[in-house]
Symmetry: C2
Subunit: 255 residues, 2 copies
């Protein structure tokens, strides 16, 4: 049965989308059937997987409003990697669902129909602890937290963990931490080293062994609509996400 992993952190620009795309592509390369769900109205996972912005294309917004999953799932150009796209429409869901019944559980109910068709369902979250992120955390088995080793990123951790706690207590008692992923890591910077030490102390063994280095190939790949392994397999960016996929597969005992 497929595992649902939410990739979340309300701090902006920490590598949520880059992780959603490249971890998913790496898992698909290892013969997993993977579905990426773009829960961010910015729709960066959608374009990074080769689908230009299109406000008319049905996607996650429609899914939350009750559309059948089959009506919104897209096949990407990459084997066994599917996508439920997003568009700027999705920003409206935060307002429209405010008074709706079971507003936090909409995504969970819809993804339950898909668990037997995928090995992994990866949820790319927006940079906010809003209803979209709450829907993702409620639907997920685990949360993967990308984090830059910088001061503001450290500051936001307690708010994120409080949100995870409150979701575990009410909406999703089974939610666990998949891991904390250090991203854009530059070992030459003392700031990075200092924040890394703080994070490892706080999160202990929840921090992934794999660390994602700052690597320009990761920033270039999305402009070609491709994951980094298809854009430049020999890059450190591609190698680090393949290592992350191996680490996650080893933890869940499969493959």
């Amino acid at each position: 049965l497929g595992r649902i992993i939410a990739i979340a952190n309300q701090k902006g620009g920490v590598g949520k989308t880059t992780t959603a795309i490249n971890l998913s592509a790496s898992l698909a390369a290892a013969d997993c059937r993977v579905l990426v769900v773009d829960c961010d109205p910015q729709a960066n996972s959608t374009s990074g997987l080769g689908f230009p912005q299109d406000a008319e294309r049905p996607g996650v917004y429609d899914l939350l409003m009750g559309a059948e999953p089959d009506a919104v799932i897209l096949e990407t150009a990459f084997d066994s990697l599917h996508l439920i796209p997003s568009s700027r429409h999705l920003a409206g869901a935060n307002v429209e669902l405010v008074d709706a019944d079971g507003r936090e559980q909409r995504l969970k109910k819809q993804l339950a129909k898909l668990r037997d068709r995928y090995d992994f369902i990866m949820l790319d979250c927006p940079p906010a602890l809003d209803l979209l992120t709450i829907n993702a955390l409620t639907a997920a088995d685990a949360v993967l937290i990308p984090i830059q080793c910088e001061y503001f990123a450290l500051e936001g951790i307690s708010a994120l963990m409080d949100t995870v706690d409150s979701i575990q207590q009410s909406l999703n008692p089974g939610l666990s931490i998949e891991g904390v992923l250090l991203t854009m890591f530059d070992e030459r910077m003392t700031l990075t080293r200092q924040v890394e030490a703080d994070l490892r102390e706080f999160f202990q063994e929840d921090v992934f062994q794999t660390v994602i280095p700052r690597n320009v190939r990761l920033a270039e790949a999305p402009s070609h609509g491709k994951p980094v392994m298809q854009y430049d397999l020999r890059s450190r960016g591609a190698e680090s996400y393949l290592n992350l996929a191996r680490e996650i597969l080893a933890r869940s005992g499969s493959r």
Copy 2:
């Protein structure tokens, strides 16, 4: 009469807070009276100016709910630089104000009382086109758009400009573009150069002459609760924000 500038871009991690703090400190160093309003529940401008997180401290949330401005304004450790802080409470405003009358104009009404006391009022926005950002764009005379020269940042421009357009048509016809600021600029990267060319073509002379380089001192300063000029005046980061302040002052013909 004070100018109100919103620092906005829904793309996360592009340097909104870093610009709010360091441009404000540079203007204050040039003897302007400056007020920073932290409109982001992450409260990074608040901590970057030396005020640790404190959910009990009154701030922007209270201002939006009708508190008197004098009850929430803080003096910082830096001459003629004041702050209206934020806390994670502020995230609740997005939901609580959904059905309220004049929900978009709350900040505008409150800041009107302060215009004669400051030369500049800088609004640090969250990474979302939500009610907080809309309040800031409705209250502002102009919007300053920090942007990284990377692909996903380019993608988000059209959604941001559409939001600015729709606010100009209804809530704030006087809203202009203060400028587009290229941040974390690394001239050695071809990706940066390509995206820069696209941005200059799209925004023409709205792009500031001043470009903010990637400079680790800018990332280190917030952990000391200081703007970069107080942390390391000789750094390229401090120099670039002083240049930006000069450019903005020259444009508005003062000083």
